[in-house]
């Protein structure tokens, strides 16, 4: 464990953990509402949302920064995890919906009389949790198995991940698919019987997101520092040579690809109760491309950098769309261009090189 980070690294991580786990909940729950230190629910949810994005960035960094696979469809796994959790949350609404019906509102206006077969068991939390892990994982496994086996890589791979997420988005936009269509899932009331809209619940969800972030960071760090990680880096740099050395690169790529998808799914499941809505636009190709830019801005191949990039870009987005909405796209576009041209190692590249990847 001690070889994962240097002393400075552990100190930084510790400081971060304190800030995340102690400072924020205190400011949100214990500090009185009038004080300037008070964090309203808005900020807590925003912070939780950004932390989920940071987890996704970590997952993306694993496949891109360490295995050299640029996926432009990772948003799909994130959204699938979100939908799995969303199904459970819709069940939890119970009879409190607009129509006071056991079915969700969107099924009522479609004139459906019962839940379709793929909604069965979704009222149980453990089943939803299982789906959160299995659905993105299985899809990633199948897709990856076919793709890596055919040795598709580089730009072609990126394009077909775009096609995959685009096709899924079209599928989920259909109301007939039974996932709420364009509306998606919204109007959540409870999770595990506990109401969602209280400050306490928000802080709990936020803390879980923070825990997920720290956990993923440590897991990823352990993975890339191990022998597995070294082979992965070799695959990224010169795959054919690694193959000639006798390694089955497909297995390595498939493993990290599936792991990344599962992590995204978990992040999605934490994201949905905090944002209060999931709908197919999370699967849009543009969203997935944005994930890539978070990692690029922060610095790919450095895990902390990816998380940092996610925080920076999303923080800027929230600020810009409030202050200068007409200029947000210029800023984002310029960011893409400048980072790829001038900051190939991202923001982390500006710091003196510490941890060789």
């Amino acid at each position: 464990m001690s070889s994962l980070y240097t002393r400075r690294g552990w100190l930084a991580l510790g400081a971060l953990a304190i800030a995340l786990f102690a400072a924020v909940p205190v400011c949100a729950l214990l500090v009185p509402a009038g004080s300037p230190l008070h964090l309203s629910e808005y900020w807590v949810s925003l912070a939780g949302k950004i932390l989920c994005y940071a987890v996704v960035a970590l997952a993306m960094d694993l496949v891109w920064g360490y295995a050299g696979i640029l996926s432009l469809g990772h948003g799909l796994f994130f959204a699938l995890g979100g939908y799995a959790m969303g199904m459970y949350l819709m069940r939890q609404i119970g009879l409190d919906g607009v129509y006071h019906s056991p079915l969700p509102d969107f099924m009522v206006f479609l004139d459906w009389k019962a839940y379709p077969w793929y909604w069965r068991f979704s009222e149980h939390f453990w089943y939803a949790a299982l789906l959160v892990v299995l659905v993105p994982g299985l899809l990633a496994y199948v897709f990856g198995w076919f793709a890596f086996r055919s040795r598709i890589k580089g730009v072609y791979f990126s394009i077909i991940t775009q096609a995959l997420t685009f096709a899924a988005m079209l599928l989920f936009f259909r109301n007939d698919t039974g996932f709420g269509g364009n509306n998606g899932f919204t109007d959540f009331k409870r999770i595990l019987g506990v109401p969602l809209a209280t400050p306490q619940m928000r802080v709990v969800l936020y803390a879980l997101s923070a825990a997920a972030l720290i956990g993923t960071l440590l897991l990823a760090r352990w993975l890339v520092a191990s022998k597995f990680g070294r082979v992965l880096a070799a695959i990224r740099d010169a795959e054919q040579r690694v193959m000639f050395c006798g390694y089955d690169t497909t297995h390595y790529k498939l493993f990290v690809w599936t792991l990344s998808a599962v992590v995204c799914g978990i992040a999605g499941a934490l994201y949905v109760p905090q944002v209060g809505i999931i709908n197919p636009s999370e699967m849009s190709p543009a969203n997935s491309i944005e994930i890539a830019i978070w990692v690029a801005v922060g610095g790919r191949g450095t895990l902390a950098g990816a998380a940092l990039g996610a925080v920076l870009v999303n923080g800027a987005k929230s600020a810009f769309t409030q202050l200068l909405p007409e200029y947000w796209l210029y800023f984002l576009g310029l960011l893409f261009i400048l980072v790829t041209l001038f900051l190939p190692r991202g923001v982390m590249g500006l710091l003196p090189r510490e941890n060789a990847a």
């Binding site: 096709a167 830019i293 041209l341």
Partner: protein, 534 residues
């Protein structure tokens, strides 16, 4: 004999020298009548009067040039008008003149009336068009005029249509033999209206009994219906083929530029859609300039818009290549991201300049409407022209690539960059020019798209995934791949759509491509030879 004389006299009477003035009461009822029934009665009265002034009045009413001012009814022509009843000029136009509003029911009757009047025009084209319109909407009121016209008609096509019109009206009138004769005549029709007319003969009343008691008539109707449906099915099949070809041509021209840049430089240009959008906006600007400076030549603004769109998109492409893309060679994934950033900026720039709303690009009149290929098949002109345009562009690019020096260099650099450089090809300049060419073709695609759909800042986003699919499917390095992939995808998409709806068709096509790529990663038409992957 006596009948013949009577008919001749009637016919002569119908074309008698001009009457004095129209019946003022009828004209008043037409324009200022309270209810639709009043207006329809007035139209029928005018039609039956045979008055020569009736025709221009009814035509003006259909064209929207009739206005009322107080109690007067005026036919307006620009700034001046003339009284519909007396014919005297009224100038200037009274300020309180307001349009006569017709609802769809009145307009339908008016349409039929004007078509009926046009049936006796000396020009065949007018008569044919009028006969087609009547076949679409056979009304009992038009029967006398139709029969009159049938008596004089010599052209076989027009005569055939008129017979169908007459038969449609006679379907429910007269004795059994006449009705069966009418039904048999209708079998030759390929018009879906005929199906609408025959179906009630085969319907059942709510209590289960046949609506048409006579079995012989029902059998004749059944036979005719089958024949009509046979004609209609052909129209459907051809329509499907045309739709697939149209979609395919659009996909092809959209993907062509991308194929050029990717095949040559391995650069996937995510801003490709936005370059198409720039071409569309260039067309919009040219349209506006023509409207402001050369309104007389407005019909030909497209002829100017095509080169402008090419130039604008091409120049932007060259600027992009020089400023951003050339620094990212050998790093295709970064190029992907950088060009995506460019696309975001282009979208916002256009939004700031032209607004977030769509802009209006009007089709010139020769591109509006369609050609009636069959009774139930209308092929829109704009799609026909776009298919032709796409074919021309492909031919032009083919010529460029195979017959010019530039094309030779481009092909050489595509096949083996290092070797081409060794033999003296200026690879950097070729890259710039080829990228500009690819972007220019994207601009042409945008110009074509502006005639079919929306022109707005997000125009490109709708076509980017499709363009990628065509390129990935078709393989790079050869034009044929893009052509076959584009047309093929268009046809497959439309075929699936007729079974399962648009969305499922698109999803299935995407999944099929994803699977296909596993089997054949290099696409349909790939360059032979060993390629070492970076």
């Amino acid at each position: 004999m006596r009948n013949l004389v009577a008919t001749l006299l009637l016919a002569l009477a119908a074309f008698a020298p001009p009457a004095l003035a129209l019946d003022a009461a009828v004209v008043h009822q037409l324009a200022l009548g309270d209810t639709s029934e009043d207006k329809i009665a007035a139209i029928n009265a005018l039609l039956e009067s045979g008055d020569e002034q009736a025709e221009p009045l009814l035509k003006a009413l259909l064209a929207g040039s009739v206005q009322t001012s107080g109690e007067r009814v005026l036919i307006v022509n620009g700034d001046s008008a003339r009284d519909a009843v007396t014919g005297e000029k009224v100038s200037p136009l009274p300020t309180d003149a307001s349009d006569v509003v017709l609802n769809n029911r009145v307009r339908g009757v008016l349409d039929a009336a004007v078509s009926a009047l046009r049936l006796v025009s000396p020009e065949r084209a007018t008569r044919l068009k009028a006969a087609r319109e009547l076949a679409d909407d056979p009304r009992a009121a038009a029967l006398p005029v139709v029969e009159k016209a049938l008596a004089r008609e010599t052209d076989p096509e027009v005569k055939g249509l008129l017979e169908i019109v007459a038969a449609s009206v006679r379907l429910h009138a007269g004795g059994k033999a006449e009705r069966i004769a009418a039904i048999r005549t209708l079998a030759a029709s390929g018009n879906s209206k005929t199906e609408t007319l025959l179906l009630p003969l085969l319907a059942k009343k709510p209590d289960g009994a046949w609506a048409e008691p006579d079995a012989e008539i029902r059998d004749a109707a059944q036979a005719s219906l089958a024949a009509v449906r046979g004609h209609l099915a052909w129209g459907d099949r051809l329509g499907l083929l045309f739709a697939g070809l149209s979609l395919g041509s659009i996909l092809m021209i959209a993907a062509l530029g991308l194929a050029i840049t990717y095949g040559l430089m391995g650069v996937i240009n995510m801003a490709h859609g936005e370059l198409m959008m720039l071409g569309a906006y260039a067309t919009y600007v040219v349209q506006n300039l023509f409207r402001a400076w050369a309104p007389g030549a407005f019909e030909w603004y497209l002829a100017a818009a095509v080169p402008v769109a090419f130039a604008v998109a091409g120049v932007v492409g060259i600027v992009l290549e020089r400023s951003v893309i050339r620094w990212l060679y050998g790093r295709p994934l970064e190029t992907l991201l950088a060009t995506w950033g460019i696309s975001l900026m282009l979208i916002q720039a256009v939004r700031s300049m032209f607004g977030a709303q769509n802009v209006q690009v009007d089709n010139p009149s020769w591109m509006s409407g369609g050609v009636q290929a069959m009774a139930n098949l209308v092929l829109p002109w704009n799609r026909i022209y776009i298919i032709a345009f796409a074919a021309l562009v492909v031919a032009g690019i083919w010529l460029l690539l195979t017959r010019t020096r530039l094309g030779l260099f481009v092909r050489g650099v595509t096949q083996n960059r290092a070797m081409a450089g060794c033999v003296g090809v200026p690879t950097a300049r070729i890259d710039t020019l080829a990228f500009g060419l690819g972007c220019g073709v994207a601009g042409l695609a945008g110009c074509a798209l502006s005639q079919i759909g929306n022109v707005g800042p997000a125009l490109g986003q709708g076509y980017i995934v499709d363009s990628f699919m065509v390129v990935v499917l078709g393989g790079v390095g050869q034009l044929a791949g893009t052509v076959y992939a584009g047309i093929g995808l268009g046809l497959v998409n439309k075929l699936l759509e007729s079974w399962s709806g648009a969305v499922i068709a698109k999803i299935v096509v995407l999944v099929v491509i994803i699977v296909f790529i596993q089997k054949r990663p290099q696409g349909l038409f790939a360059l032979k030879g060993r390629a070492v992957e970076a």
